[in-house]
Subunit: 197 residues, 2 copies
């Protein structure tokens, strides 16, 4: 798709924070990613120096443990920055993969020079702090739910938070988001159905 057009979206996204960015510096490094369902932007264990901007579509962050179990940490909707803050700031391999849940479009740009330039811009740094605050708060709520709520409650929470996904996303992935096996989720769903009557 049109790189010009997508870059436009990225610029608009940052405009809302009144950050003063010289995009010309990155023109040559910006890459367009057309994703089909199941394609990955970033793979667990990979080192990447890029941040991504999700222009359209939907992705999930998931990780796989040594024992082969999959856990979906986050589901992110466009428009949004996506990427591993941790991997970029500590320059370590990513702890999770980022996978498209539908067809999606994203662009990538190199984080270091961008962050270098941006950390001189107060408006941007403020916006970045706000971004971190918001994902932090989300993470805190998810930790809370994982520890304090039963699987059934977490499923109901998921249905409340993502009403548009509860019927379109495969149940395996819903199960992986709430931290249980698809089999347990199936049990919970039939249990809920019989309770309703």
């Amino acid at each position: 798709m049109d790189k010009q057009y997508l870059t436009q979206q990225l610029m608009q996204f940052f405009d809302q924070y009144q950050a003063n960015i010289n995009w010309d510096l990155y023109q040559t490094d910006i890459q367009v990613h057309m994703l089909n369902k199941g394609d990955c932007l970033l793979r667990q264990g990979e080192r990447s120096a890029n941040m991504f901007f999700l222009c359209s579509g939907l992705v999930r962050y998931y990780s796989v443990s040594e024992s082969g179990k999959e856990y979906t940490q986050t589901i992110a909707k466009s428009p949004r920055l996506v990427g591993s803050t941790r991997a970029l700031t500590l320059s370590q391999p990513a702890l999770f993969s980022i996978e498209a849940l539908h067809a999606s479009t994203a662009i990538s740009f190199p984080w270091q020079p961008f962050y270098q330039q941006m950390s001189q811009d107060l408006a941007f740094t403020q916006a970045y702090a706000m971004f971190l605050e918001s994902i932090f708060i989300h993470k805190e709520q998810k930790e809370h739910a994982m520890v304090k709520h039963s699987a059934t409650q977490r499923y109901l929470d998921f249905c409340r938070d993502f009403p548009e996904l509860k019927d379109t996303l495969p149940q395996q992935q819903i199960a992986s988001y709430i931290g249980i096996t698809p089999i347990a989720l199936s049990r919970i769903r039939t249990q809920l159905k019989t309770d309703q009557r």
Copy 2:
């Protein structure tokens, strides 16, 4: 204890970030808190406009669910800022209490005017973003451990991360940090002892 002296520590803490702060504005609002073991700086459900700086000692962040179960989210050592970013930025009641694990000293100051002034200071905003990044990374690792590791593994992780606490902290609180009951922890400990032989 000497307010002057503790305030000095707070200023030194921010000096390391080269933030340019006019402390005179807050002199009258700064309060000193001398904490005994078990005293709380902040109580779950309370609204507070203050941020705290832990000058000496050790605190834990814990929350109690409706069903009366306690969960320790974080253990924080001095010197450090402590408080609920979430409660302050959204001006909502705190989701957790902050309790001293030993005798500790802290000072409090009003967050809003401070943050207002500080968000004009690039060095401070950068430092704040780094602070958020660091607690975010910690939270991500804890979420990961809670989901992927067994209670036994989480106990071993705790012993690795807090070697100085594993014998001094009451087992109830260790259990609450790793998200199990004290009874389960006792079982795990005897299990580990017999395994060693």
